[in-house]
Subunit: 419 residues, 4 copies
C-alpha cells in the first residue's frame, strides 16, 4: 500500500536521523567540514558530511556556534569582484553560461552550504533550530544579520504555502504533538492536560495547525477556534470550565481566539494569514450554518502605548477603557504609518476589520496588564477580504464598524490630548 510505504519511509527517515545525529564520527574541524561540503562533488560523501556537521553543531555551546556562524558569514560571503566581472561578461555576451557564472557569483556560498545541509534526512528541523540560534546570538552583528537573510531566503522557498499541510488537532491527535500545543500556546496559556482537553475535545471547539512534510512532528503554527452563537465578548466565557457545550451544527460563528507561532527559527516567515483562510474555508464547507468569522484578540501594546504617550488609565471605568482602546486601534501608528498594535497589523493586513471592543474580556493578570482586560473582535468578511486588505495596504487606513468608530470618537481624554 503506497500510504503504508510513505509512513514507513517517513518513520524510517526520522529514526535514522535520530540515531545518526547523536554521535560525531568524523575528525575534521567543523569549518573544514563546511568547506568540504560546499566543494563536495557527489551526493555520497555529501550526505555523511551534512549529517556530521549538523550533529556537531547540535552539541556545540553558544560560543562555538557563534564562532561557526561568523566563519561562514565571512568566509562564504560573496566576492564583489567576482560579481562585477561575471556581471560585465553577462552584459557583453548574455548566454546560459555567462548567466550561470553570474548567478553563482551573486549568491554567497553559505546559501549552497545550507542547501547541502538540508539534503541530510530530517535536516530541515535542525536548520530551523540553527536559525533560531542565529537569531538569538547574532543580534546587532551586521554580518550575522546578513547571514540570517540567506537562511530566510531559503526558508521562504522551503516553507512555501504549497508545501504546507493543514491538520486538525484534536483529542485523538498523538500525545507528542499535543504536548507541543501545550508548550507553544502563546496567547492564553494551557496549564495541563485537562485544560488542553477542554480546548480540544468539546464538539464546539476546533484546532488546526500547519505542518511541513519534512518536520511531521513539529507544528509550525496553530489556531484555536470556538464555535458559538453570536460573537463572544470575553475569553473567560469561552474558556469557562463549566460552560455548556453546543452542537457544532447550531453554531453561526467561528471565533479564532488564539493563534500561536511555534518555531522561533521561522520568524518573519508568515503562515497565519494562510492558516486562517484555510480554516475558514474548511469550516464553511463542513458547517453550512456558519455565517461569521471573527477573532477575540488581545490588544497587547495598549498599556505600553498609553505609558509612552504619558496617559493614565482607569480600570474602574470600563466604558472609558473601551473608548480608549477603540481610539488606540484606529489612530495609534508606528513610524511609517502602520498601526502601533502588532495584532492589529496582523489581522488588518489579512483583510479583517475592527469590529467590536470588549471590555473586561480578559481579566487574567496578563490581560489586565497589557490592556486593562480589554479585547477586540476583528471580523473576517470572506467576501470582502481582498478589497479590505488592498485598501489597507494602499492607504494604511484602519477600517472599523461604525460602532467602534463612534466609540473612538467618544474618547474624551485622548481628544483633549490630541488638541
Amino acid at each position: 500500500m503506497t500510504l503504508l510505504a510513505d509512513l514507513l519511509s517517513i518513520v524510517f527517515e526520522r529514526r535514522y536521523r535520530k540515531s545518526a545525529i547523536r554521535k560525531a564520527k568524523d575528525g575534521r574541524p567543523v569549518k573544514e567540514l563546511a568547506s568540504d561540503l560546499v566543494g563536495s562533488t557527489g551526493e555520497v560523501s555529501g550526505l555523511a558530511m551534512a549529517d556530521e556537521l549538523l550533529t556537531r553543531f547540535d552539541m556545540m555551546d553558544d560560543e562555538s556556534k557563534l564562532d561557526f556562524f561568523r566563519h561562514i558569514a565571512i568566509k562564504m560571503n560573496i566576492d564583489p569582484e567576482a560579481v562585477r566581472s561575471t556581471l560585465y561578461n553577462y552584459e557583453q555576451n548574455p548566454s546560459r553560461a555567462s548567466y550561470r557564472a553570474f548567478m553563482t557569483a551573486a549568491e554567497p556560498r553559505r546559501q549552497e552550504l545550507i542547501r547541502r545541509l538540508n539534503e541530510a534526512q530530517g535536516a530541515t528541523g535542525a536548520l530551523v533550530q540553527m536559525r533560531a540560534d542565529l537569531l538569538r546570538l547574532g543580534k546587532g552583528e551586521p554580518e550575522l544579520e546578513a547571514l540570517d537573510l540567506d537562511f530566510r531566503h531559503l526558508f521562504v522557498s522551503w516553507f512555501n504555502r504549497g508545501f504546507l499541510i493543514a491538520r486538525p488537532i484534536n483529542w485523538e491527535s498523538p500525545a507528542h504533538i499535543l504536548e507541543k500545543i501545550i508548550a507553544y500556546e502563546a496567547v492564553h496559556a494551557i496549564g495541563n492536560w485537562e485544560e488542553l482537553r477542554r480546548r480540544l475535545e468539546p464538539i464546539d471547539r476546533r484546532c488546526f495547525a500547519f505542518f511541513h512534510p519534512s518536520m511531521p512532528d513539529e507544528p509550525l503554527i496553530f489556531v484555536e477556534v470556538a464555535l458559538t452563537k453570536g460573537i463572544p465578548n470575553s475569553v473567560q466565557g469561552l474558556l469557562a470550565e463549566d460552560r455548556e457545550y453546543m452542537s457544532a451544527e447550531e453554531a453561526d460563528t467561528a471565533v479564532f481566539y488564539s493563534i500561536s507561532n511555534c518555531q522561533a527559527g521561522l520568524s518573519n516567515i508568515s503562515f497565519g494569514n494562510s492558516l486562517i483562510k484555510q480554516v475558514a474555508s474548511d469550516l464553511s464547507a463542513e458547517l453550512v450554518g456558519l455565517r461569521t468569522f471573527v477573532t477575540l484578540s488581545p490588544i497587547p501594546e495598549l498599556a505600553r502605548w498609553l505609558k509612552q504617550e504619558g496617559l493614565e488609565w482607569d480600570l474602574s471605568h470600563p466604558e472609558q477603557m473601551s473608548a480608549t482602546a477603540a481610539y488606540y486601534l484606529l489612530n495609534a501608528k508606528r513610524k511609517g504609518g502602520m498601526p502601533f498594535d502588532p495584532v492589529a497589523r496582523f489581522h488588518l493586513s489579512n483583510g479583517a476589520i475592527v469590529h467590536a471592543i470588549c471590555a473586561n474580556a480578559d481579566i487574567s493578570d496578563k490581560g489586565l496588564a497589557q490592556s486593562g482586560g480589554t479585547m477586540v473582535n476583528y471580523l473576517y468578511d470572506m467576501g470582502k477580504i481582498t478589497q479590505n486588505y488592498e485598501h489597507f495596504l494602499t492607504t494604511q487606513k484602519v477600517v472599523s464598524s461604525s460602532t467602534v468608530k463612534s466609540l473612538a470618537n467618544s474618547c474624551s481624554i485622548l481628544q483633549v490630548q490630541k488638541r
Copy 2:
C-alpha cells in the same frame, strides 16, 4: 486522527486545484497578471492570481507559451545597474539592509514570480510541466536558456533530497500510479498490465520510486529490482514469462535492471544516485542474505560511437562484441575526459565500477541496435562507493574488474585502430 487529516487535506487540495485550474476567471492579460503577482503585497489576491496564471498558461498554444517565456525572460531579468549600485553600497556599508538590497537586485524578478506561482495549491506539478515546455521550446535562445537556470535553481531547492519520499511500488499500489509506471518505463518497455504485473507481483521483484509531497500522484524516478542468486547476464532471463519465482530470503543479489526518470521538467536535477542508495540500504535491512548490489545496464551509445569512429561490428562473434564493449566502456571519452557512455557516466559517478560484460544480454530490437545486444553489470560495493566515486571524479579513470580489463585489452581491432 492526524494521518486521516493529512490525507484529507492533501486530497482536498488536489481536488480543489483540479477544478480551480480549469476555468479562467480574470480578464487581465497574462503578462499583466505576472507583473501584478510579483508586485502583489498580500497572499489573498496572490493565490488567486497564481491560480489564474497557471490555468491560463495550461490552456495556451506553444506560440503563446513562447511569447510568455520571452516576456518574463526579458522584462523580469536583473537590472545590471541596480546590481552594481547595491553592490557598491553593500561594500561601503555592509549591513542587513544593504545586503538585502543587493540580494533583491541580484536575483531576477522572474524567480520571485516562480516562487509566488508555487504558492497556489498543487502548483508544483504545473511548474514542472511549465519547465518541460520551456526546455522543449526554448532551445538555442540564450534568454530562455538563462530563464531555465532560474527554474532549475528553484527546483533544486524544492526537490531537495530531504523532501523526497521513497515508496515501494507493487501490485497493491494505486492503479493511477501504476499506469504511470507503464508510461514512463524508459529502458525495457512495458506493453500492458500483464507485463507490469510480472515485474511487480512476484516475490523476487521489487520496484521503488521517489515522490515529492506536493506531487503525490507523480513518480519522479523509479528503479526496478530483481532479487536473484548470482549476477544475471541477460535481460531475457530476468523478464522471461515462464521463469520460476524464488523466495526473497534466498536471494544473494539485488539487480537494478531499469532506472527511469519520469519528469521532463526535472531534467538535470538528479535523483538516481539517491534512489539507488536508499533502495540498497532498505533492501539490506530487510533481506539479510543480500551480498551483492549490481545493475544489468544497457550500453546505449556503443553503436553510435563505433559508427563515429568508422568501425564496424559483427554480431556473429559475441566474444568480439564483448571485448569491443569492454574497450569502449574503459576508454571511449567525450570532450573533457568523462566516459562517452551516459549510463556509464551515471553509475561511475555514483561510485559503481564496471564489473562484467554480458553478450547477447538484450536481444530486443532496441538492444541489438544500440549495442549488438551487449549489456554490462555495474557493481555497487557499498563499502567502497565513496572511495570509488571520489577517485573517479578526481581522475576520471574508469575502474573495472580484472576480467573486464583483460577483455578490453584483448580487443584487437580497436588496438590496431588506436595506432
Copy 3:
C-alpha cells in the same frame, strides 16, 4: 502512530498466513487434526493445528475434501441423547451449569471446529473458500447441507453488518483489488483495464464495495453507480465509450446499474440491501443535488418464464416487449407468491418499487437472450423504503408507478392467455 501499527499488523498477519499456508508440517491425518483441534485445551497448539488443517485442506483434491466434509458432518454432529438428557436436567434445575451443558450438547462440535479454525491468522478467507467448496460438492447430501447451515450460522455472526466496512473503489484503488472487480463483475462484464477505467475514473461514476476487516484484499459485494441527469433508459448510453462526462455536482440522479456478489462462500448471507442504503446515504451527504435513487436492472428470467408459459416474443415490437415485461414483473410469481424474477425479489424486498420499463436498454447478446433487451428501473424513494418493504413482505404485492401499471394492463397477448 497507531494507524501505521494497524496496517503493519494486518500486513504482517497476511504475509505470515501466506507463507504459513503453503507447507504442511504435521504428520497427523486431517481428521485426527480436526478432533485434536476441537479437544485442544490451549491456544498455543490450537493455532498451529488450525493453520496446519487449513493448509492441508487447501491442497486437497475434491475427493478428499468431500471425504473430510462427510467426516465432520457425521462424526461431529449433535448427539440426540445428550441433547435430551441435558435438556431434561435444565428443565428440572435451571442454572448456569445446566444451561451450559445443554448449550454444549445442542451445538454440534463441528461448529466449535469452525470457530477454532477461524483463530488462525487470516483464516476467515480460507473458511469462506471452504464453504464455497462445500456448496459446490455437497449438493443433495442431507448431511452436507446440514453442515452448510453450521457454516452459515457462524458466518452470519462474523459478517455482521456492524463489522463490514464500505470502501469506495476508484482508479486510485490498489491494482490487486481492481483486478478482482474485473473478475467478479457479474452483470455487465468488464473486458479489460481500459473498460474498468471507464467505469471508475470519470467524475460522474462511482463504485463502492463492502470489505471485512479480516479479508482486506477481498471485496464481498460491490455496486457500480452512474450519476446522471434524469433516469437513464439504456445501458448502452451509460457505458458508451465516447459519452460526455458530467460534473458530479450537476447530477440529480444516482443509478445503481450493477451489483455483484463476489464470494460464492458467502451465498445466502445478504449484503446488497445494506450496501445500497449505505451508498445512497453517503452520496446524499456528498452531493446535495441528488434527488432520485434508481436502478437500471436486468430482467434475467423474462425469457425463461415466457418459454415456460409457452409464449413467444417478437423483438421487432419493442412496445409489446415492454408491455410484456411490465406484465411479467407485476404478475409472474413463483410458488409461495414471491415474484418470479430474482432481481425483482431483491429490490422489492429492499423497499424499492417498479418505476419504468426500458425497451432496447441492453442489446448485448446476454441482454437480448434473457429479456429481449428490455430492462427496468427500480426506484428507491428513501422516505418510503420502510413502508414499501413492509407492505411488500406482508402482502407480496408488487408496487409500481402508474405508467408501468397501464403498460402491464395493455399487454394484450398475456391478457388473452390469462383468460
Copy 4:
C-alpha cells in the same frame, strides 16, 4: 485511496452512532422493541430499532436494566417442547430443513436479539457494556447467569483471535487512547500523564494492546514491556524516575511487567495468552538480541492464602518470605488442583514456568499488603511453551527452576505446618 476510505467510513460510522445513540425517537416500550427486532423481516427497520433499543438501554437506571434482562432471559428462552419435537423430527428424517428447525429451536431467541442489536453501527461496544451491566446486576440469578452464557457464546465468535489487531501503544498514540491506558492499568497504577510518558516514551519501553475493528477507540487488553539486560528483580528499579535508558538493541531480555484487561464486559474471554505470544514474536523479529522473555509478576493471593491457612509472615526476613512464596506457588492449590494464585494459573496455563522469586520487589502499599513485597518471574521459553502448557494442563503440576524448587523446600514453617 482505500485506506482513506476505510478510515472515513469507520470515523463516519462512529460519528453517526455517537449522535444517533443520544436521542430516543420511538415510542414503543423497550420490551416491545426487542420482540419486534427479533421478528423484524428486513434490515431497514431492524437497524433503526436496534439503534433505538441500545439508546434507550443506555439511558436506563439499574432497576430498569435488570427488568429488561429478566424479560429477555425468560421470554426469549428456549422452548423445551419445541427442542424435543424438532429433535425428534431431525432424527426421523435428517435433512437440511429438519436440522434447521432444530437449530432454531435449540437456540434461545435472545441470541438472535443480541445478533440483531449488533447490526447497528458501532453496537459492539454498547453490547460489551450491556454485558458488563449484566454481570454486575445478574449475580446469583440463574436465569441471568444463563443469559450471560448467551452473551459469552456470541462474544467468543465476535472477539475471535483472528479478528483482533495488535497495536503498539506509545507516546505517538492518540490522547484518547492513552487516557484509557491510564484508566485501565490494573497492576501498577499510573498517576498522571508524566508517569504514563515514563512508561511509553523511553526507547527501552514498549506497550501493546489488542483492539477489535468495531471498537477502534477501546483497548481490550494491554501489556507493558521493559527491555533490560538480565532479569530484573524489582518493580521499583523498573519504574524508577531517574533510571538510565538503554538502547533497545542492547537488551537481551523482554519483561512483561504489567498485563491489564480493560473491558469488564469481556470477562472470561481470554486474550492475554495471545497478546503475550504476539508481542514476544513481534519483539523477537525486531530485536535480534532478545534471548529471554520473562514476567515480573505480583503474587496477589499470597497474603490471603497465608491467612486462610492460619499462618503469619514476617517482613523482616525477606529470605523467609521468598521461601514461603516459592512454597505457595508450587504447592498451594484450589479445589480441583489448579494453583491457588490466579496470576500463576494464567502464566502456567500459557506455558510459562516459575523462574525466580524476588523479595522486596514491590514495596508499594498494595505490593506489601498482598505478598509482603515479594514478586515472581515467570519465564516464557518460546521453544518449550507448547510442551510446558500441555504438561501443566494434563498433570496440573507446577514446573519451576531448580532454584525455586530448593527455595520452596527450604520453607521451614510450612514444612512444619505440612506435617
